[in-house]
């Protein structure tokens, strides 16, 4: 459990002045992850995306820690190369400090184009934390559908129209794919619960091996809501159980945030422009299908958490 008073004393390593949108969740994720790392030196890598382009417009940088970006699909491979350099130089006595490594990627750079790179890095066992700031579409290029886009959402490449009602497929369960890699620590988190996220980052960084956090990160532009609602929306994703906050720590499942009252999925969907068309006449069956899917997956997760494993 993180202590807010202590965290508030941690020097900021993602400074203000970056060009992320008002209400953007990605900046909150990066800032809290670095605060969670405390005084430990970290090297950050990032996939091409909103976080990278908004924080590193040459000759400026918002990063007070070493930051490296090279391409879209390789944040994990990149982080693994830095970690390999660290291991070699540390063993030779050329680097003295204990350094930790954090790779960031959006859902496009993680679920889709960077999945191979991520899978390879996790399998090789590098000591690194990969954080997917998941805003459920390619937001940097203008809200295109990704493997993380939920069923029914309107995006610019799976738009709602006269024949189709947004994305017709379910999202990929990347967290489960990461769990199947049998790495020491995998978690789902969400913007709007600093304590849960900071605790997870601290746990992940303390592990001598690979770890993965998938954090739901509302995008006010792509989800089409008022900028001040970012935190609320992410919290609603948890209380409706469409995005449960849970972790798998050395194979043991734990639900970190159990909603007191599980709200209907429409409470989450109706606040967002990307789901607006689902409330039109004739689309009730899509809402029902989404609710059914949420219910089934939540029940399965609860069974796993009760059993303490993926049984």
């Amino acid at each position: 459990m993180a202590n807010l008073k202590e965290l508030s004393k941690t020097p900021e390593r993602l400074t203000s002045g970056h060009r992320l949108c008002a209400g953007c969740g990605a900046g909150i994720v990066a800032r809290q992850a670095l605060i969670a790392a405390g005084d430990t030196p970290v090297v950050v890598t990032s996939a091409t995306g909103c976080l990278e382009v908004s924080t590193t417009i040459f000759p400026y940088t918002a990063w007070k820690t070493s930051f490296f970006h090279s391409a879209f699909e390789n944040s994990a491979a990149t982080c693994s190369g830095i970690e390999a350099a660290y291991k070699s130089l540390k063993a030779q006595g050329k680097v003295k400090d204990d350094i930790r490594f954090i790779a960031f990627g959006g859902d496009g750079g993680t679920y889709d184009i960077g999945l191979q790179s991520l899978s390879g890095a996790m399998e090789r066992g590098h000591r690194m934390l990969y954080i997917c700031y998941n805003n459920e579409a390619y937001m940097n290029t203008g809200i295109q559908r990704s493997g993380a886009t939920p069923k029914g959402a309107h995006t610019t490449t799976a738009p709602a129209g006269k024949v189709h009602q947004g994305k017709e497929q379910n999202k990929k369960d990347l967290t489960q794919i990461m769990i199947a890699h049998n790495i020491p620590y995998v978690a789902q988190a969400y913007v709007g619960n600093w304590n849960d996220f900071v605790t997870k980052v601290q746990k992940a960084l303390s592990i001598n091996g690979p770890s993965f956090i998938n954090i739901l990160t509302p995008c006010r532009l792509g989800w089409n809501y008022k900028p001040e609602d970012t935190m609320n929306l992410a919290r609603l994703a948890v209380t409706t159980c469409i995005w449960p906050a849970y972790e798998v720590d050395n194979g043991v499942y734990k639900i970190n945030v159990k909603p007191k009252e599980k709200k209907p999925i429409t409470e989450f969907l109706k606040l967002q422009g990307r789901f607006k068309h689902l409330f039109n006449t004739g689309n009730a069956h899509i809402l029902e299908a989404i609710q059914k899917d949420v219910d089934e997956k939540w029940a399965l997760l609860q069974r796993r958490a009760e059993a303490g494993c993926q049984a």
Binding site: F68, G81, A84
Partner: protein
């Protein structure tokens, strides 16, 4: 026949791949990240064994693709490590995006590259289409005629890359050199290490006292300057390459230049060629010289940066030149080396030589002394006026129907 030229040198029988791995063992980079591909696999396979046996202190990252190989190598280099990789053909193609990033970020990576044909159709044998496709990627390209050169080039490449702050690849022709056992003179570890020196980057990501951002987004106000600096670094690299070669000759006794002139100074007809075919062509040149025919050869060692001015000077007196490309450009016009040679001559005001372009040996198709002798015969006929020089690409040893 290779003879020792260095007092402490040792003659060994090694394939091109083995000798490139041997150079890597002696260079002992901090990080190697690689992915297997025929015919380059052995290089990293042998190197992995060095790592497994504790012969080297290097970290070996057995990545899941060549894209990740180049990504991890770039990252390791940016982190402050001396970093190397090896690949060929499709592997180099998969790295394409990252090749440009390695040079754009000015990272002194060294790559052992084995030239192989590009798919489709899939073919594992030697031609130079792979690295020719990467000729504008901002990498210094050093080609080798045989295993000795491959070994010597790898050692020099490390210093060249770090001084020029440019990634550098050293190639051998697939199978023809990579799998051919030859006698090679190797030098003692301690002397190789002394020659390359310790790698001390100015700035690196693991320097926690001076954290920095690398790989920024660079818009209309700075991007052009950074690309200009890269192009300028490539121009400046010529002198660095020559300085390193001079020091190499002083240390180990073997002389290297940007290109090799073989009986070229008084030649009336000459072939320009890259790689192992130069060895075959030298045999033909010798035979022709015995017959009193003034044949010569120019073998390009450094293809990038292209030694344009120097080559123009050295070819100006030749009456007829055949530029032999082991890669086609599919440009509808000419193959890569021909385009570079003719542009260089024209820019230098050299318009006398008649120049023809031959594409040969794609996918490992045989090129022998008879094929090359025919090229020289054609050049002789062009000089005597018996034949008009072709104004299009000619193909050697191919069935056109």
């Amino acid at each position: 026949m290779i003879k020792t030229v260095y007092s402490k040198g040792k003659l060994v029988a090694k394939t091109g791949n083995e000798v490139m791995a041997e150079a890597m063992r002696q260079i002992e980079p901090d990080v190697v990240a690689a992915y297997p591909i025929t015919p380059a696999t052995e290089i990293v396979q042998i190197f992995s064994q060095f790592v497994a046996d504790g012969t080297v202190k290097s970290e070996y990252v057995a990545v899941e693709s060549e894209h990740s190989a180049m990504s991890a190598t770039i990252a390791a280099s940016a982190a402050g490590a001396r970093a190397m990789t090896g690949t060929s053909s499709q592997g180099l193609s998969l790295m394409w995006e990252m090749l440009y990033i390695a040079s754009g970020l000015r990272l002194p990576i060294v790559m052992a590259e084995v030239n192989r044909a590009i798919s489709a159709p899939i073919n594992i044998h030697g031609d130079q289409s792979d690295t020719m496709g990467a000729r504008d990627a901002g990498w210094i390209q050093i080609y080798s005629e045989n295993s000795q050169e491959a070994y010597d080039n790898m050692i020099q490449a490390t210093r060249i890359a770090e001084k020029a702050k440019l990634p550098t690849l050293v190639t051998t022709d697939g199978f023809i050199i990579s799998h051919c056992m030859e006698v090679v003179e190797t030098y003692p570890d301690v002397d190789v290490k002394a020659f390359i020196g310790e790698y001390k980057p100015d700035r690196y990501l693991l320097d926690t006292k001076k954290p920095y951002t690398l790989g920024s987004i660079d818009l209309q106000d700075y991007y052009f300057e950074h690309r200009y600096q890269l192009a300028q670094a490539m121009r400046d690299a010529r002198n660095i390459i020559l300085d390193v070669a001079k020091d190499f000759e002083k240390t180990f006794g073997r002389k290297y230049e940007l290109y090799e002139k073989y009986m070229l100074d008084d030649a009336e007809i000459a072939i320009v060629v890259i790689g192992s075919t130069a060895g075959t062509a030298k045999v033909v040149v010798k035979e022709l010289r015995e017959k009193g025919i003034k044949a010569g050869l120019l073998k390009i060692r450094i293809y990038r940066p292209f030694p344009a001015e120097q080559i123009a000077k050295d070819l100006a007196h030749v009456k007829a030149i055949a530029v032999m490309d082991r890669a086609d450009s599919c440009s509808g016009a000419f193959a890569p080396v021909y385009s570079d040679i003719t542009a260089s001559l024209y820019a230098a005001g050299v318009t006398n030589p008649k120049i023809v372009n031959y594409v040969y040996g794609l996918g490992g198709r045989e090129i022998n002394t008879e094929h090359i002798a025919k090229v020289y015969e054609t050049l002789s006929r062009i000089v005597s006026g018996a034949e008009k020089p072709s104004n299009m690409v000619e193909y050697i040893n191919v069935r056109k129907k």
